[in-house]
Structures are given as C-alpha cells and as structure tokens.
Subunit: 352 residues, 4 copies
C-alpha cells in the first residue's frame, strides 16, 4: 500500500546542483516477455508516484533491454525529462560478455566506446540526453586523459549533464580530477559503489578524503547485498539452487560473477551476521531490509540508494526506510556496530 508512506526525501548529488531522491530505482528492471514488461512498468509507476525521481540503468544490463524498457516507461506515462534524473553507464557494452573478434571495441572507456556506447544507449532509451553518465568500471588500458576528454565530449555535445564513475579506486578518481583540472575540463562528480552493512571499507575508508576534497557524491548499489540483508535467506544453508546468487541466470557475465563471489564460507559468515541484526530490527518494529537501508542512508555522503523491485510492494517497502533513519539513535547504531563487527579503523583525515 502506498498510503502510509513517509514523504520522499532528496539530497544533492555530491557537490552539484542536482537533487536526487534518497531511494532510487535501478538494476535490470526487465524480466523478459510482455507480462514481465508490465511488471517493470508498474514498479516504475509506483516509484514515480511516491516521489522517486532517479532511475538508474546501464548499457550492460540485459544486453541493452533494461534501457529499452525504461525508455518505454517514460514515453508510456508521459513523464517529462526535467522531472526525472536518468542515468546510464558505459563500459560493458551490450554483448553480455560475448565479444566476437570484430566487436572488441564495444566495451571499455576508449573515446570510441564512450561516444558510440552513449549514442546507442540514447537510441535505446529514446531520449536526447541522460542526466548522469557513469564509467561503469575503470579501464586500466585506456589513458585517463582519453577517458576524461571523452566524457567531457559527450557533455559538451549535450548528451549528458554530469559524469561519474562506478567501482573506481580512490586513486583513479583523484587522477581523473587531476587531468580535468589541468585541462580545464569537468571531473567525475559521483561514484557508484557497493555499500551495505557487509561491505563498508571502500565507502567509509578509501574514499573518505574525496568527499571533502572533490565533493564526491555516492549513489549506492546493492544496499541489501543481493537480498541477503533482507533476511530472506536467514534459514537457508546456501544460495538456493537455481537462484541468481547460486548460479547466475546465465544471462550475463556480471550475474555469473556475483554468484562466484559467494563461496560457501562467505555465505555462512554473512548469514551469521544477518542473524545478529534480526533482534535490532524487531526492537525497532521494522523489517530487516528497512533497517539495512536506513543504516546506509544515515551516511551523509550517500546521495541515493539504488534499489531493485519486481513488484510495487517492494518499492513501498524500500521507501519506508526513509522514516526509519530517525530511529537510528547513537545507541541503536552502537548495537548495529556490535552485530556486524566490521567498522573500518582509519586515522581521521587532517581536515575531517
């Protein structure tokens, strides 16, 4: 039910003038077939109606189908682009990891692929521009100057307003800024990392000085760690056979990789941690998923949490996390720290 939802909240995308809803909708968002398309449409409609303005996709999601369905939804509902923040990401191409000989320039961050890739994304989205274009991964084979110039080229051509990174190291982000400053160009304003109660090192540690130095914003993916933090696997000994987590769907190299990272040992360790969070959620009378999302939102460097959904109800559940944030008193936060036991231990920065 969308009735008792808290009002959506908005934050600036790092040190820019762009405002994004703290909960956003992203990921594959497509499940195949006509019936499944209707499911995507209803999730996007539910999200828009509760104040979500930020929708995230990528050229690499389902070989481009995610962009196609998102573009169709925008047309179908008559949404205006000035009311939306649309992002896509360039790096993986649309070939699901299967690049024949001649297609090997269809990925990476060469000038060729950044420009061609975004052009193809805009064709699939059927939009003249996106708000944010991300470098979906670092490309350690392409010189940083070529990368920075390529993203500025698409901004100058009016095809994007801002550019950001995803899963870049702090050093790579800083290097991009160094090149941009030297050439009078625009640097990356936002990073899209994984961040959740089980994965904290990069956001709370490695990136720290980028927030004050460059005003880096964060749009976080996997805030529920592929669902495990929702508690739905609490009583499951291993990723359920046939599930994405266990095997990947065979649909893309990325899902396959996710699955591969969940060996039995990490799975057991993750579940044990999640189990310790359960009583805290019960104490606050919230679901485990809401607890996990609210905890991530408590971090002021986070601009938005990118959530997935296959039913409108999931959208509503996620949005409720917005009002859970204020329940996270210092005492509750301390209990969470005890439960997860993974607080990064860094010396404070000089100007922090």
């Amino acid at each position: 039910m969308a009735e008792n939802l808290p009002p959506m909240e908005y934050r600036f995308l790092g040190r820019t003038g762009l405002k994004v809803s703290v909960i956003s909708l992203g990921g594959w968002l497509t499940y195949g077939g006509h019936v499944e398309d209707e499911k995507t449409f209803s999730c996007m409609k539910a999200a828009y109606d509760v104040g979500i303005n930020f929708f995230d996709t990528a050229e690499g999601y389902e070989g481009g189908k995610s962009e196609i369905i998102m573009g169709r939804a925008i047309k179908k509902f008559g949404w205006k682009q000035q009311d939306l923040v649309i992002s896509t990401k360039i790096y993986h191409g649309q070939a699901n990891g299967r690049y024949p000989n001649n297609a090997l320039n269809n990925k990476g961050l060469s000038r060729k692929h950044v420009i061609e890739g975004l052009d193809l994304s805009l064709q699939r989205l059927d939009l003249p521009y996106v708000d944010i274009v991300y470098a979906h991964r670092p490309d350690r084979h392409t010189p940083m100057e070529e990368i920075v110039r390529a993203f500025n080229h698409v901004i100058n051509q009016g095809k994007a307003f801002y550019w950001g990174t995803s899963e870049w190291s702090a050093t790579e982000i800083a290097e991009a800024w160094r090149v941009a400053d030297r050439l009078g160009l625009i640097g990356p304003v936002v990073e899209q990392p994984q961040y959740n109660l089980l994965e904290r090192e990069r956001v709370e540690g490695e990136y720290r000085w980028l927030y004050t130095e460059h005003g880096l914003g964060l749009t976080v993916f996997s805030p529920l760690k592929q669902g495990i933090l929702s508690g739905k696997y609490n009583d499951v000994a291993a990723p359920p056979p046939g599930s994405r987590l266990a095997e990947g769907t065979g649909r893309s190299e990325f899902i396959t990789k996710f699955a591969a990272t969940w060996g039995d040992e990490r799975w057991q360790k993750g579940l044990a941690t999640v189990a310790k969070l359960k009583p805290i959620a019960e104490e606050l009378k919230v679901t485990q998923a809401q607890l996990a999302l609210a905890w991530a939102l408590k971090n002021p460097n986070v601009s938005s949490l990118i959530t997935g959904a296959s039913r409108p109800e999931q959208v509503y559940e996620n949005v409720k996390a917005v009002e859970v944030v204020k329940k996270l008193t210092p005492e509750i936060l301390e209990k969470i720290e005890q439960a997860v036991g993974n607080a990064p231990n860094f010396e404070p920065l000089r100007f922090e």
Copy 2:
C-alpha cells in the same frame, strides 16, 4: 499620445557592445484571457514604435505564460530578432513555486535546470535564442563552477549571447568572474537589481567596485517601487485591499513575497518620503513617476530601466522620463537627496 515623445536614448549594456533602450518593457505582461492578450500586444507595439528595443521576461513569470505571449507578439508584428534585445531568466521554473516531488530539479542553477530551463523558455518564446539569459537568483546550493560552466554551455550552443545575474550579492558576482577567468570562460556582464529612490544601498554601495572592475551593467527592475513612487498611493493609508501589494494575486510565490515585505510601518514610511518628492515634481512640471525614473537614469551605471505597462499610455508616460533627465540639475538632485534622506555613505573606492 505618442506624438510629443522625446527620441529614445540607448546605452551599452555594461561593458559589452550591445545597445539597449534606456527604458525597457518587462514583467509579467500577461493578464489572462483573449482580451488581456490584446492589451499586452498593444503595449508591446507601443513600446516598439517609440524606440524601445529591449523586452525582458522570465521562465518564472506567470508560469511561463509571459514568455508565450511575448513570443506571440514578436511573430504577430513580424519583428526581426536582430532589431530586438530579448532577455529571459532562469531559476524559478514555471511551477509558480509549487514543486511536486518529481519536479524539484525544475528550478535553481544546476547544470540540468539551466540547460533544460532555457530550452523550455526558447520553446515558449518560439525563438532560436535570446540575447541575454539571467540567473534569476543566486543558487547557494550549486557550486559556482557548475553555474558558470552551464551558462557558457548555452552561450556556446548559440542559445544566448550574454549572461547576467539578478539579485546576486557583489561577492557572488565576483566569484563567478573568478571562476570564469580561471577557466577562460565568459563571466556575467549584467546584474538586474531593484533600484529606485527608496532602495539604493546595493546599487550605489555594494556593487560599486564591480562597475569599474568588471564593467558590470545594470538593468533595473521596480524603478517605481511597485508603483508607490508614482504617487498613486499618496493618499492611501495601506496597500489597497485586493491589490497586488496588499495580498499578492495568489498567482505566484513572488508576488506574495512582494506583498509580505510591505508591513504597515514600511508602507507609512515610504508614503511619507513620496509625499516630500511631490513638490519637486510639481516644480519641474513632470509627474512623480517621471521624476523617479529620470532620477534612476541619472546613474550612469544603469543601462536600462525595466518598466511595466498595462496600457500604451503608460508606456508613453514612462518614455517621457528620458527628457526629464536633463532637468535634474545639481540643485534639484540635492533637493531630492534631502527629501529621501537615504544616500548611502561609503568610503570612496581606491580607484574611483
């Protein structure tokens, strides 16, 4: 009658090569309905015929209707854009201050809104470009570099020739120039402040050093202080119920704010000052409105006074102020200073 009007005079827009009529026509310029549209057309025609070349509007005036009607007038009379100086302003959006969740990027000076906002303004005006685009207010949430780059982006794309500010502080204008100089970009060449016999501090004080340092031009709004300097409220104890000044029209947040600034005390004080100016106008055989306009034009840093009108006769009345300027002898100016008693008291600038 347009017969006995003085020839129009023109000034450069600050340190640019653009010439604007010292009297310009601006503001909402729309009053709703077909009959009212004809009123707007006749005012614009009257203005053009007496040599006014500068017409000012904004995306925020009447939710975009002001731009639509101005564009229609240009088409209707077959005016050529090279004979006109058209300005619009970006900041407030078109939503009259009521921004639903998803529309919160429809205002401010983010790269997104500057570009999208001006594109929508040009659509409403049905013009390929404007001469001047203003940042209608400072945006203290968007980094100055993003703002300066966004206005240079629209200039480079051929959508505007110059950019300026409205109601920015001197420090903000200087900061914009600092960023522009560092990046080799174009800075703001004109500010649109309020300036009249009752509001002098900013133009005569705070901005002083910007005139010589950056060649700042001024296009002044409210030269009659929302009509009070015309003397028409001389015998009125308070803003007349139902008038814009008293309550706003309910049509936009801006009018409402104007009304709110007129508490009973300021109203009485303003009227008392205006009463003292009456004998001076009578001595010069001009109306109080003409005296007030001529006084503002005496300031050489003023490029143009933006006046409103709902009838051609008002246009003619305002234009007559052009020949009143030469009647403002040192003796008369001293009398005016005595009457208003609000001359700013600043130390002279080093290079003044």
Copy 3:
C-alpha cells in the same frame, strides 16, 4: 580576350594554409535589374575561368544585394565551395547607414551583430560557410575580448574558417592577438586595407612588424584608388559630375564618404602624380592600370588585390598585371618612387 592571359598566380593568405589568387574579384558587383545581374554573372564567370578563386563581398555592399548576386552566381555555374575562397565582412549591417531606433544593434562588432550578421550573410549567399569573415571596421565601443570571442564562436560553429580585419590600426590588430593568445583562441590572420601608389603609409609603415610577428596577410582594396590610377581621369579637372567619385551614388553611406574625401586639392594633386606615371607605363608597353596593380603585387606581404569589374574585359585587363610584375626591375621601381615621391621613411625593424 582571355586568350593571351598569363597563368594566374596564387599566394598564401598570410601565415595560413589557404591559397588565394593574387587578383581577386570584389566590391559591390551589382548594378541593379535583370540585365545588370547578367553583367555580374559574366564578370564572375570570366574571373573563375582565368583562375581567380577568391571572391570578396560584405554585408554592407548594396544593402546585402552583393551577397545575394554572388550566391546566385555560385549556384548558377555549379561551382564547388572547395574550389573557391569566399569572404564577407561584418560591421556595417545591410541598412545602408539608415538605422531606425530598433535596428541599432544591426551593425558594429558586438557578439550579437557578429553572429546575427554572419548568419544573415550566409542566408543571402545561400552557403553553409564562408572561408574568411572580416571585421569590416574596428568597433571601439565593443571590448576586444567580446570581438575575439565572437569571431571564434562563428569559426567553432563551422560558419567560417578564418577571420580577419579591415582598416584596423596595427595596435588594434596586436590587441586582438593578445586577447586571443591569452584565451587560447584564434587571432585575425588577414587585414584588408587600402593600398596603392597614392596610399602607402599604413601597409608599408604602421603594419610592418605584424607581418613577421603575427604572419599578417593583406587583401588589398582600391589598388587603383577608385580608378584614378588607371589614368582614365587624366584629363579631367575634377571628379566628373554624376560619377561615384564626385557625389556618391546616394545608394550608401560608404560611397558618399569616398566622394567626400576627394576635395578639389587632393584631386589635382592625385592627377599630377598619375600624369608622372604615364611615361613609365608607356616605356613598359603596359596600361597605367596594369602598372599600378603590378607595383602593389610586388609587395610580398600582399596576398591578393581585390579588383572590381563591370565587364569581362576589365577582368582580363587586371589579370594581365600578373605578368607585368617581372618587368618591375629595380630601375623601374626607382623611377616610380621618383614619380610618386611618397615612400614612407621608417627605421628598419629590429628583426627585419
């Protein structure tokens, strides 16, 4: 007859990669009416066929008609733009000096007029771009940075390849380069001055250091000093009544100004000089016009002489000057110096 003409010669346009024929065709090139249009077409065709590739016009020539007729000729003969060097000039507007109130931004070198003016020129020429766009005069009311940025803007938009000046002082040209160098922009590569046996000071004196310092090229107008150097007025006591020289045609302010500069005294002095050149031409067995053109071509800083013509025969006559250049031995040049007696006397430049 075009049969016995020397092969056309070409020079670089100053320090650029553009090659122009040393004789070019320019000026009004339109005389009114259908019959007269055919005359223009036949002159342009004759010029093209003898190897003239450079055609010069201006927005101010005959209120824009010169550009229209030139554009029509290009279409009529199916010439390709890559085989031509087309230049136009922006400054005077198309209003023949009669600017109503609202049209006062239709001239000068403001950003507005440079961009709008060239757009209108291209419309009249029916071409996507010109090769060279000149600032037809200096504009001392527009800041140099605005002028330099405006010409770079049209170059960046693909509307011109190079920009130059006409009748600017050496100091103004140097100032334009200073601004361009500071901002990393393109400076003016060519100046279009008057240069002939009676007017030498600027080209041989004032501009000297610009040739080596900035590689300035020259496209010279009035190489025959409005015809007087052709000897056709040798026996005329004063500019013939009704001629352009005497009264102007009334068609434009420029012609009127030319006429005004020929007071009786200068006329007599000019004729006396021309009379002394007559025996030299006879000695070389060339016309006086050919002698005058060849003398101007002898100056290596001259890229091209812009000549006028109302009949193909005049084109052929002018082109013959190309082979007269080699007859100008040191002895002949010394005789010419004695005849004109106006050699500028400047100290050599340090690096000359």
Copy 4:
C-alpha cells in the same frame, strides 16, 4: 582457405584505448568496373570474417573511389560501425594530382581543406564519422597551430575519434604535440610510415623517443615493400614492364612516384637482399611474405600492418603471418639481420 588460420590478434593503437587487428586491409582496394567491385567486396568480407577490424583508406586513393567502394561494402554487409575501425587520410585531395587553378585549396592541411576534405570523405564513405583521420603528409606551408586546431575541430564536431600523421618527421610530430599541449588540445596519436625489412631507419631510429614520450602508435604501410619482399620478383631483372612498379598505372601521381623511386640500381640491390631471405623462410616452412610480415609485427611499437589484397586468398596468406611471429627466435632474427644488413645504429635513448 580460411579454415586453418590462426586467431586474429589485436593491439592498442599506441597509447589509446582503441584496439586494432594486427593485420589490416587498406590501399586503393578498387580496380574499376562492376566485376572489379565484386573483387573488392569479397576481399573485405574475407578480412572481416577472419577478424580484421581495421580498414584504411584515403581521400587520395583513386580520386575518392576507394572511399566510395569501402562505404558500399559496409552497407552491403550490414556491418556496424562500432565493430569496425575505419580510417581515412586528408592531404592529397581527390584530383589525382591534377589541380586546376581553382582547385588548389583541395589539398594540403589548411583549415579549409582538413574540414572540407573530411566532410567530402564522409560523404563518399556514407558514414557520420571515421575512427582515425590522418594528415596524409606534412604540410610545410601551413602553420602547425592551424593544422592542430583543424584536426581538433573535426574531432570536437564528432567527425573523428583520433587523429594521426603519415610520413611526418619526428620533429614535426613533436611540434604538433607541443602546440597541442600549449592549447590544451589533442595531439596526433598514431603515425603511418613505411616499414619493412628494406626500410627501417625512420621507425627504428628517428621515431624512437616518440614511442615512450608520446605513446605514438604505428600503422605500417608497404610491409612487403610494394610486393618485392614476397619474393615474386626474385627472378626478375627489373620491375616488369607495364607493372605498377615500373611505370605507375598513370592513374595517380603517387603510383608514378613509387615507380620513380625504383631505379635499376636500387632494384638490383633489393632483389639481392630478398634472395638472401629465401632460405630463412624455407627453414621456417613459411612464405617469404609471411616471414616479412611476421618480422614487422615483432616490433612492439607496430600496432597494425596495412596489407593490400585483390583476392581473398591473399588476405588469408597475410593473416597466417600472425602465427609466424612466435617462430622468430633470437637465432632466426639474427639470421635475418645478417641477410638484410641494415640495422640502424643509434645510441640508446636516455630513458630507453
């Protein structure tokens, strides 16, 4: 037969993110008439099918016909531009060296010809952009700043991703980078020189420091020295009468020039060297052509060898060289050095 071919290998184009097949297809690629077009199509198809992604042409090849036929092949086979690396070269124009008077700006590297030339190339190719545009020769009459700006102009307009040079001296390439660095522009990333067992000085000597300093890539033409290294002229006393080598085909100035460089003495000397390579090829059980190609690929600064073909079988023959590279042991390489006896003798670079 395409069956037993080794998998294609790819290298980065110098210090860029663009990947090119180590064997590419280029040259005239057109032989006239409908039947001949089919030959070109079948060669291109064969190349694409064995993993060649890089196709090279030039405005000067067969007066533009090479570009037309290449563009037709791309359309015919439905290839996507993102799967291809297409390059063209600007300098020679399409006039086969016969430039009438008016066409003399149709060649060289003036701003006019770089922009016009590439526009015409894109029209002939029927493509919106190429991947690489080369300056086909240095232009010592056009200032380097004009050249660098012109190539950046076409890159900024989206008409090319990278620019390079062909047959420029090391000093000229360095000067281009100096200008680019000063102006914050993009320098040339690749040089297209001749390189083969008989011509090594420039690639192994003169250019050395550019590989580390600027990351220069090489796309090599004539890796078989116009066929002589294939051994097919081994028993021929002189270039066969009627062959391209002997007389040129009369079709273009370039072929004629190639012929002229083969005087009788050089021909004999070349053949003698080739004869010494024969036993080495026999020892490795490869053709002489494969030996020559593999030797050139052994140089890590080479990004790709541009090969020609008039039958698919020739494509397959060339591609087999890819697996010959690993047969080039130090012992074999030493034998080759003894046979050719032309190893450049340079002092090592300071940072080599």
